[in-house]
């Protein structure tokens, strides 16, 4: 573990990053309980361990950028700036949720932050990101399309088609592969002949590099550099963010496919612990700071739960609304 902070990291910045990651962690942990109580239903995919990726990347993006995510999206949505209450209400299925409650955990949409979901089909979002980038380019705008996907998506044809098309047309797409080593229960080594994702991308003439996803500072730095280049018109890039999923694929998963020892080893080098240790070592924070941040995060989560609990359901009479677009909202 790198114990030395890069130069220029202030206490303020450090605490801000830590706060963001703790907000996600506390949110996810609270979801476990709510799911057990059947307040959240359907499928629930949590991102514990991957907070560094969400926070680091979002720090480098701007409001004008478009974001496409996957079903493991809570962290992305929170880090992007969506209100926790709106996300929690979506998980509860309430009308005040991001998608009026219609999507649930896997389908969070937010026009205000250009968050285009939330896609339950692995690799289904990559072509959308290509299109969003095409729209930026053809309209001479300066936004980019940032597309999150897991390493499992690399097996789907749409990954290859999308990288090829983005490179061919020199589109401003930032492909963000969260490589957490397991696609549901299948280890990467069992599904890919070439397990270095960034190497695959390069074969499509897409500039790509691996990043330590557990190091939120590294993620931020590399993403910023990539975004600058893409915004400058140099074509798409791919970042292979190496990370790990501390919890199961989804709630109902006995994790028969991996060792508890492996999970525990990774948990010891998770993004929150890593940053905390480094900040403390550099004298930039204390345990009290940590406790305070965690308390604040949990309080924010509780307020979101209360909001969700008290929110109304969408009336059944609205079932058929929005099948087609409604005239001028």
């Amino acid at each position: 573990m790198i114990s030395v902070l890069p130069a220029g990291v202030t206490r303020e910045r450090g605490l801000q990053l830590l706060r963001e990651m703790l907000r996600i962690r506390c949110f996810e942990d609270r979801c476990v309980q709510l799911y057990g109580e059947q307040k959240i239903r359907g499928f629930l995919h949590l991102c514990n361990g991957e907070e560094g990726v969400a926070v680091g990347v979002m720090q480098a993006l701007e409001p004008r950028d478009a974001i496409v995510s996957t079903y493991r999206e809570h962290g992305h949505a929170i880090a992007r700036g969506m209100t926790m209450g709106v996300i929690m209400a979506e998980l509860f299925g309430k009308r005040t949720g991001a998608s009026h409650g219609r999507g649930g955990s896997m389908h969070i949409f937010d026009a205000a932050t250009r968050f285009y979901g939330g896609n339950a089909i692995v690799a289904g979002g990559l072509p959308l990101a290509v299109g969003l980038a095409l729209a930026e380019k053809l309209q001479h705008r300066t936004g980019i399309a940032a597309c999150f996907f897991g390493e499992g998506a690399v097996a789907e044809g749409e990954f290859h088609e999308s990288l090829n098309l983005a490179a061919l047309w020199r589109l401003p797409v930032l492909f963000l592969c969260e490589n957490n080593l397991y696609a549901m229960g299948t280890a990467l080594t069992l599904s890919e002949s070439e397990t270095e994702i960034h190497v695959k991308a390069r074969s499509y003439r897409v500039d790509a590099m691996p990043v330590d996803g557990m190091d939120v500072l590294a993620v931020g730095e590399v993403t910023r550099a990539a975004v600058t280049r893409i915004r400058g018109g140099e074509g798409p890039m791919l970042l292979e963010l190496r990370t790990y999923r501390f919890r199961a694929h989804s709630m109902f998963d006995a994790q028969l496919y991996r060792d508890k020892a492996e999970v525990e080893a990774w948990q010891k080098k998770g993004p929150i612990i890593t940053l905390t240790t480094r900040l403390k070592a550099a004298g930039l924070m204390t345990e009290d700071d940590y406790q305070r941040l965690e308390r604040e995060a949990r309080a924010e989560v509780e307020a979101a739960v209360t909001f969700a609990e008290q929110s109304e359901w969408e009336p059944v009479g609205d079932l058929e609304r929005y099948v087609y677009a409604e005239p001028a909202r």
């Binding site: 057990g36 006995a254 994790q255």
Partner: protein, 390 residues
Amino acid sequence: MIRVEFRLPALGADMESGTLTAWLKKPGDRIRRGDALAVVETSKGLIDIEAFEDGVLEELVAQPGATVPVGAVLARIARESAAAAPTSGATAPQATPPMPVPEKPEPVAPTIPGAAATPPPSRRRISPAARRRAHELGIDLASVESSSPEELVRIEDVERLHKQAPSLPQRAGMRATIGAAMARSKREIPHYYLAHTVDFGATRDWLSQFNASVPVGERLIEVVLLVKAVALAVSNIEGFNGHFHDGQFRRSDLVHVGTAIALRGGGLVAPALLDAGRKDLKSLMREFSDLVTRVRSGHMRSTELTSATITLTSLGAEAVDVLFPVINPPQVAIIGAGAIAERPWVSDGKVALRPVLTMTLAADHRVTDGRAGSRLLRRIADLLAHPETL
């Protein structure tokens, strides 16, 4: 110090229960949020379940090996006060609006959203099944009433009418009724009369041959040939098939031939063979037999008594040569068939004995005249001369 209940969580969308396999902590152990407390066996395998807050494990409620439903209490935990999280273990029951229960839909005729409202029908709504049944029973749909609130005529309505067929009036009453009808007929309808005699030989021969070639149950009798010939003839020659009402003749598309049938013990009725123009001889025979049986046993249907559009009357083999029948109002014509008897006849330029039949037409002079009447009788004669076309 507050005791909270640790319950079996739902771990999956379709998980209903789990089997507690092992406790990982014992009473008295300090536990922290996130600690695995127990192992539960599910359909997917063994899953650790965790504590959501700090405290001390007080009491184990479920024992290893127990299968419990989701939500069942597994243990009790003494929650630490002070530094603990602002809320209790279980999410505090909030004022949660109840989930709207979709209302049970009222049984309503299915409609498609956006479909144009059904305009008021210019014709009655009759189910295909009802139509078919009415046809089978010979019931005029116009006389069937709907019993449904939406004015839909269903098979049960047809069958109900069928069962309601009135029994024949008593003999004395019948005499009076017939008398009144005949008086009215003579009073109101200016009758004209025509007669025509034909050689019935060819028809008879054909009939014999036909009957020899079919089983007994399918044999035809002469009156059926007459019915068919009359029906076909009035279909093509206007003015004889229909009803006279309110000073006007209304022709009928279909030909319902009233067939005079004598009742045992006196009295005569002429129930209709419906749509005789379009039925084949076999069907007509069958229906005629059925009609006779029912008439004699008193089971006719009201529609049969009222719907004839023309009548054929024949007094049978023991009758006289020529009939001068009276029209049954509101009909406008009646055909009489005398007895068929051997008479000298000119055939192929020679005198021979032939079975001859004299047919008479009595018709309403307000609607037709002798020319039309003649055409009609000649047409009937023609048809009878070629029975294979009937």
